[in-house]
């Protein structure tokens, strides 16, 4: 079956187009996914910075009650899984989960080891390095951002903290967001790509198949039928038309068939003459 002209013409095109379209869609999905995740991280890092800036005044005034209430309110939002503020020693000072307050965290856990993996902890991290993904105790997939809270001249002036030169970092804000909206967007993107990919494949392969059938396969089939008919002496058969090369072959076939018929008729006449 693969030796037929149709298979030889259609299989390579189908294979090449299908493979390349699927490859293109896989790479495009990977690009889009990475862009979407990077955008989400940038957006969430911006939100974490906004929280740090908006709670700055409460910190400056040492208004712990207001600060805890702000953290609780932020943590009560649907997409926020947790919010906590650590001091420099890694002890939770404020948290959306009151049970976590005064608990210490291991510096080698994810989210801490990005800065604490060397002898001297890093004080500055890029936006992408501030993010981590994990599954929390409730089984939810979480994208968390750890934002440093830097010491400022105004913080040291309030006599709560040492001067900026001696102490650059006061603590960190850790906020975790549910990845459900991100996953929903990615699923939607994947479905759209699959639909688009299928449509492109149907159009391309279907179009190529239809054109080949109309312009090549059908005329060849007609030519084969015509050649079979002519070889049996049926000179009145309808010849395939419309394609120059096929017309040339039809002309050659007709010429040969006419010559053959003429020779046969001549031979027959000679035989009859001899018999007479």
């Amino acid at each position: 079956m693969l030796n037929r002209f149709a298979a030889k013409a259609i299989v390579p095109i189908t294979l090449a187009v299908t493979g390349f379209v699927i490859l293109g869609c896989l790479l495009l999905h990977s690009f889009n996914k990475n862009d979407l995740i990077s955008d989400t991280i940038r957006h969430e890092a911006g939100l974490a910075d906004t929280i740090v800036k908006s709670t700055r005044y409460a910190m400056l005034k040492t208004d712990r009650e207001m600060l805890q209430q702000a953290i609780l309110d932020i943590g009560s939002q649907e997409e926020v899984e947790h919010v906590r503020i650590f001091n420099k020693k890694g002890i939770v000072m404020f948290s959306s989960d009151p049970d976590e307050i005064d608990q210490a965290v291991d510096k080698q856990t994810a989210g801490c080891n990005a800065c604490h993996n060397g002898p001297e902890p890093a004080t500055r991290l890029g936006t992408m390095d501030q993010a981590r993904r994990f599954t929390n105790g409730h089984g939810s997939d979480v994208l968390a951002i750890t934002t440093p809270i830097y010491n400022e001249a105004s913080c040291a002036a309030a006599s709560c903290h040492r001067p900026v030169k001696e102490n650059k970092l006061l603590g960190t804000l850790d906020i975790g967001f549910s990845t459900a909206p991100l996953r929903a967007s990615l699923t939607q993107l994947r479905v759209r790509l699959i639909v688009f990919c299928t449509m492109v494949l149907f159009l391309t392969v279907g179009g190529v198949c239809a054109l080949l059938r109309r312009n090549v396969l059908l005329p060849i089939r007609q030519l084969v039928t015509f050649a079979e008919g002519v070889s049996r002496g049926r000179m009145d058969m309808k010849a395939p038309e419309g394609i120059e090369e096929i017309n040339e072959v039809v002309g050659v076939l007709l010429h040969q068939a006419t010559e053959l018929q003429r020779l046969r008729t001549g031979q027959k006449k000679n035989r009859e003459n001899r018999q007479d």
């Binding site: 693969l2 030796n3 030889k8 299989v11 390579p12 294979l15 090449a16 299908t18 493979g19 390349f20 699927i22 490859l23 293109g24 896989l26 790479l27 990977s30 690009f31 996914k33 990475n34």
Partner: protein, 177 residues
Amino acid sequence: MHWKRHIDEQAEQTLSRSPEEAEARIRSYSARARMGQWGLFAFLVLSMVAFRFGSLFFLLPEDLRTILGPAPPVRLMSIALAVYAFSALIYILARMMGEDRNYHGWAQLFYLAGFYIFFSYANSLHENFWAILVAGLTILGLEHFRLWSQCQEVIRRERQILAKFDRSSRKLPSEGD
């Protein structure tokens, strides 16, 4: 009509002059037609190894990683994969028009292994594994089909020659009788 003369000359050159030669050619081209299957099989084994042990690259000692240097950006590697797949497919389709009956899949296998190694070194093989697999199956599948169909043409021609030899050898004794 230069192309037609060229094809006729090539066909003349490839015709066998004895039944033994025709049989040997059929055997040789049958074996060659199966080379693509071995290439695909080797690629599937390579992919399974990459899928199972690809992440081991991430466990390389820090000193060795420092010597090797940082991995190229994943985005650039993905673009390189797309460009490679596109050019390899065009190259195979172009070879389909000619009479090249050599298998070129081993070089492709080498390039694909390179992509597995680089993505693995950049610790992003998990995300890009299916893309490399699809690229490899398409390229090696098309190369297999190209070689198989071209070898089948030669085999068909040699079988016709063999049948001619067979007919003429049957005729000779009857003429002698």
